[in-house]
Symmetry: C2
Subunit: 157 residues, 2 copies
């Protein structure tokens, strides 16, 4: 788990290099489309956990919660930084991007929210393994806060 976290952090910190190597194949529009897809996929999995451990509208199933937590962690650790080339605050993927230009002006804050998401998601993946519903609910809240931190600062209306 520790190793995975470090890999994830490295992937983001090295995102400059990743951008350099993938820009040839991914247009700005494809970068926007792909990050919109990744967050849609993550949101679906957040929704499954919410239904089972917060709302109680779906019966708790540890295997499903674990699979959902794995999916959220996989998004967090996938090197999303490569999908944020300069200029991608303008453009349309599946829909018009809502990324604020501040994203490119505040790299320290970006790194902070990115590491926050990765750390929270990796911990959720770990807690899901225990099957402790209350602990999962608490950590789910922490992941949600890490999503919100980025939305508040870098996502427009």
């Amino acid at each position: 788990m520790k190793k995975q976290l470090l890999s994830g952090l490295s992937a983001f910190v090295l995102s400059g290099a990743i951008i350099a190597t993938t820009q040839a194949s991914l247009s700005n529009e494809d970068q926007i489309k792909t990050r919109q897809s990744a967050y849609q996929f993550a949101a679906w999995n957040m929704g499954k956990i919410k239904a089972q451990v917060i709302d109680g509208t779906v019966e708790f199933n540890q295997a499903q919660v674990q699979a959902a937590a794995n999916a959220i962690a996989a998004v967090a650790n996938s090197g999303m930084g490569a999908l944020y080339a300069p200029g991608t605050d303008k453009g349309t993927g599946w829909k018009k991007t809502r990324l604020k230009s501040e994203f490119f002006e505040q790299p320290e804050r970006v790194r902070e929210v990115a590491i926050g998401f990765m750390t929270a998601a990796n911990e959720l993946q770990k807690v899901a393994e225990t099957g402790d519903k209350d602990a999962i609910a608490r950590q789910f809240g922490t992941v949600g806060q890490s999503c919100k931190a980025c939305h508040d600062d870098f996502r427009g209306r």
Copy 2:
């Protein structure tokens, strides 16, 4: 790994039940949008592995390949069956769905291709851990074949 595979298979086999519990919250359009997102996210990660172990256009980095393999496995194990409610062969998510109506007429074949994808993706995740580039390349091919099996039978032009 074994446990994860079984969880994934169970999630798919139980997809009827999952559909029943999630239909209330996910419209057909949202199901289509979410599955398009999941496959877009998986394809991005397939592309990263291809660039590093097949094409050699990006330097091999085991941590990045592992993260990409984790992402593909996470999609495969996420209970995608819940996003294929009857009727979702018509409709528009991010774009018009290409799902053929045959999907709902051949449940045995659907289960076969779904299990094929999960098995191949879980094995890729395992092989990525070894860092053996040739073995990863071979298993990447097997995952690609498992994608193609579903496209050939159930995806229109």
